[in-house]
């Protein structure tokens, strides 16, 4: 039977509310929002959320640089996260657990204004997330309905 996870439409974007944790980085369960971005092949933790979660990325291996939202970022590899999502079920409230791979984005800007602009961008889940988790994305904007669907 197919199961659904509801998305919210916030500031015109598809937003997934989740709780994440990472034992390797000693991050206990934290509420997080991710924007579902089908224009991105990969998933990223934003500069803002790296700071919020206090992830030490200085000594972590970095990958190639990426442009995102008009800014250039250093891409830093992160260990596996656990992600918890709320199943859509009116009778019984339950969560599902996924294993999530993300890269951290670190802004390369130095002026305060440009850092602020870079930190304004959200964390995103790209096409790799939908593919790896075997999720399909359903959006009916005229009815304000959006959800992810998976085989439960």
């Amino acid at each position: 039977m197919n199961q659904r996870v509801l998305l919210q439409i916030v500031e015109g974007r598809l937003v997934l509310t989740s709780v994440i944790e990472c034992q390797h980085l000693r991050i206990s369960r934290q509420i997080m929002e991710f924007v579902i971005d089908t224009g991105s092949p990969n998933s990223y933790l934003s500069d803002k959320d790296v700071k919020r979660l206090q992830i030490p990325i200085k000594d972590r291996p970095s990958k190639e640089e990426v442009d995102f939202g008009g800014s250039r970022y250093k891409q830093v590899s992160l260990p596996e996260f656990k992600m918890y999502l709320l199943k859509e079920d009116k009778e019984k409230k339950e969560s599902i657990t996924l294993n999530l791979f993300l890269s951290a984005l670190k802004t390369m800007k130095s002026s305060e204004k440009k850092i602020q602009m870079a930190q304004a961008l959200p964390s995103i889940l790209g096409l790799d997330f939908l593919k790896n988790q075997k999720l399909s994305l359903h959006v009916i904007l005229t009815e304000n309905i959006a959800y992810l669907e998976y085989k439960g």
Binding site: E11, V19, E33, G69, Q116, Q119, L121, I124
Partner: protein, 79 residues
């Protein structure tokens, strides 16, 4: 943390984002070009500098695990 607490955390998070969306115009007027930290449908702290905001939250020993931090601006950011 029990499963019930985890589910409650997710529901509370969804409610907070719904509140943010419903109050976006007011928040843009009050906090234009600032980062805001909010939880339980209340803005807890704000600052134009993210590091300063994190410091303010730390100084007040506020648990950040349940709150959202978002940048509010009248100018729309395009991904």
């Amino acid at each position: 943390m029990s499963d019930a607490m985890l589910v409650q955390m997710l529901i509370s998070g969804q409610n907070d984002l719904s509140w943010f969306e419903s109050n976006l115009n007011r928040l843009k007027s009050e906090y234009n070009n600032k980062f805001i930290a909010f939880h339980n449908q209340t803005v807890i702290e704000s600052d134009s500098n993210l590091d300063h905001l994190m410091r303010k939250l730390g100084d007040k020993s506020i648990d950040t695990s349940n709150l959202f931090i978002k940048f509010v601006s009248k100018v729309k950011a395009i991904l």
